[in-house]
């Protein structure tokens, strides 16, 4: 089994992983909105968060929570990995189909890891 390891400190927010992920999963197109990995900027802390799509959910959570990272509070829904109807990401914009990271197939061949110039993404065997 593998997992993707994220080093947030190295990410420069370039979205190349998003283009690579979408290109891998669709025929001859680039569309970051169909990527299974998304990057968001935290302007206050001047850093980037990478979120990799996890399992899907059919309804928004009823209890909301905040996540505290390095003393800074974040809205849990922004950082959640789920494909959720409350948010536009991890859902195909045109069809509504839920998206989930599949490590780019079997055997795993993560394209996002391949293109990340800054080494923010790596493969971890578990």
């Amino acid at each position: 089994m593998i997992r993707l390891k994220i080093d947030h400190g190295k990410c420069t927010g370039c979205q190349e992983c998003e283009t690579a992920c979408s290109m891998k999963h669709y025929t001859n197109e680039v569309n970051p909105k169909k990527s299974r990995i998304r990057v968001f900027e935290d302007e206050e802390e001047q850093r980037f968060f990478l979120i990799i799509a996890g399992p899907t959910t059919t309804a928004e959570c009823t209890s909301k929570f905040d996540v505290v990272i390095a003393g800074q509070q974040y809205d849990g829904c922004t950082l959640c990995r789920s494909s959720c109807p409350a948010r536009p990401w991890f859902t195909e914009p045109d069809t509504g189909v839920a998206l989930k990271c599949d490590f780019c197939g079997d055997p795993p061949d993560p394209h996002c890891v391949k293109v990340c110039e800054k080494g923010a993404l790596s493969i971890m065997e578990i």
């Binding site: 420069t12 370039c14 690579a20 680039v30 970051p32």
Partner: protein, 611 residues
Amino acid sequence: MEAWMGKILRVNLSYGDYHIEEIDPDYLRPYLGGRGLGSKILYDEVDPQVDPFSPENKLIFMTGPLTGTGAPCSSRYMVITKSPLSGTIACSNSGGFFGPELKFAGYDGIIFEGVADEPVYLWINDDEVEIRSAAEFWGKTTHETEDFIRAKIENKYLAKEIRVASIGPAGEKLSRIACVINDKNRAAGRSGVGAVMGSKKLKAIAVRGTGKIMLPDKEAFHKAVLHARDVIRAGPVTGEALPAYGTAVLVNIINEAKILPTNNWQVTYFETANKIAGETIAETILKRPKGCFACPIACGRLTEISDPQNTGMGSPKYFKGEGPEYETVELMGASCGIDNLAAITKANYLCNEMGMDTISAAATVATAMELYEKGYLPEKDLGLKANFGNADALIILTEKMGKREGIGDIMAEGGYRLAEQYGHPELFMGVKKLEAPAYDPRGVQSMGLQYATSNRGACHVRGYAIANEILGVHVKTDPLITEGKAEMVKTFQDITAVIDSSGLCLFVALATNFLYEEIQSLINAASGAGYTVDELVSIGERISNLERLFNLKAGLTKADDTLPKRLLEEPGGPKGDVCRLNEMLPEYYQLRGWDENGVPTTDKLSGLGLQ
């Protein structure tokens, strides 16, 4: 043809409506996209004699075929219009994420016509296009504008996905050095394009796109991308220097070459340059490098400073933002005799928030300082003692310029108009009324020719000969001689026009041997258009000539292809030389196929299909 979206949004602000136009492939092909296509449209649709602030002037936002594709550094869009600063054709380039988002929304570009009655902004969410009121945030900074537009969107997660390009108070007040800012800190900086946007009462464009860019063969494209990234990684400038230290890595290099404009170009070496260099930025104020869309270099600098002086903008204690870049840190620094990095950074943040070009703003402050020290600009007009080295003066004058308060009112018109008002236009360091960037041609001759002939005035990113003359990127040349420089400048200018039209960032050409073949392979892999290298070379030449024709029709002449007196007559630089423009200019005209007055010959024009 893949890669292009094939559609342009034409918005008439006077009527408050828009329609979508298909791009004719035959019209597009000889101009590629971006700068080329935008300039062609401007040339065909706008009388070059037009008053830049009149409704007849148009404001064009244009991406290139590679924009958004994920090719390395494919973040770029251009803003094309007639410049209110120089009266020439203006096309300012910017990165970030706005350009790619526009393509994902389904458009290669937007043409704005007319003038709105009331302040508006354009909202684009894929097919949903709307001209909305901007009354609530007219007068706000570019940062506040972006936050405001996001806050108005009901779904706060969707709000995270929009990208905004806007103007600040400077653009609203028609400052001739106003820029367009996108993604808060990226600027389509030069030539006053922000003022044209302000004259149209267009405060911002907000865009979200969920669509795709088509590729003919994704495997082939992916291969071309990986190869181009290898080339970029292997280049010492693009693979090491820029990622580690940003563009300000140039400060020490340019200072060592003794071509670092200091005290408004009176001197070309700055004793304490290291205090404002990229290395120092990395050690002190840098929080993190930031990349534009799909950029493996990430030269952008997210920085934070303790506030050296509270001027009432932003939060009182800390300041965060992006920058400073080389030109900014040099012109606000050495050229103003200032080595206080925090003050420079703050003035940079102010420019981003107020929507002013940092090069023009800084150079205008430097001009004011020389006028003041020589006794031409009295303290009572300035409201302070603006001697070189006065960091407070830099910040205060920058803010006054943005708000057009006091002396800031004339300074907002740019360095030329300031120097002229006070009777000494010779102290303006620029060409065609555009303030010069930070390389002194007395020690790098080719840059003198480049400043004199660039179609938008004194500009470094229309032909970055520094790449060879100083950095030796492709081949190392002797910067002190004039032989061969006409050819070099022409070559650089033309390839730059191609890069600016493709949607790539000019920095790809700072990778060793990233030349036409690399650009060709990316464009063809993304579009299937099958461009030959010869075709691309002629596209570059065609764009250079088309822009020249626009300028000639606008009333510019050979007399405008010159340099400030200081560079032509006062010795400076490493060997105490002047810029020997007269040794290069006639040869340049000849190589270009222009007559002795710098007018393209009929033969040249028909060869390029411009007749």
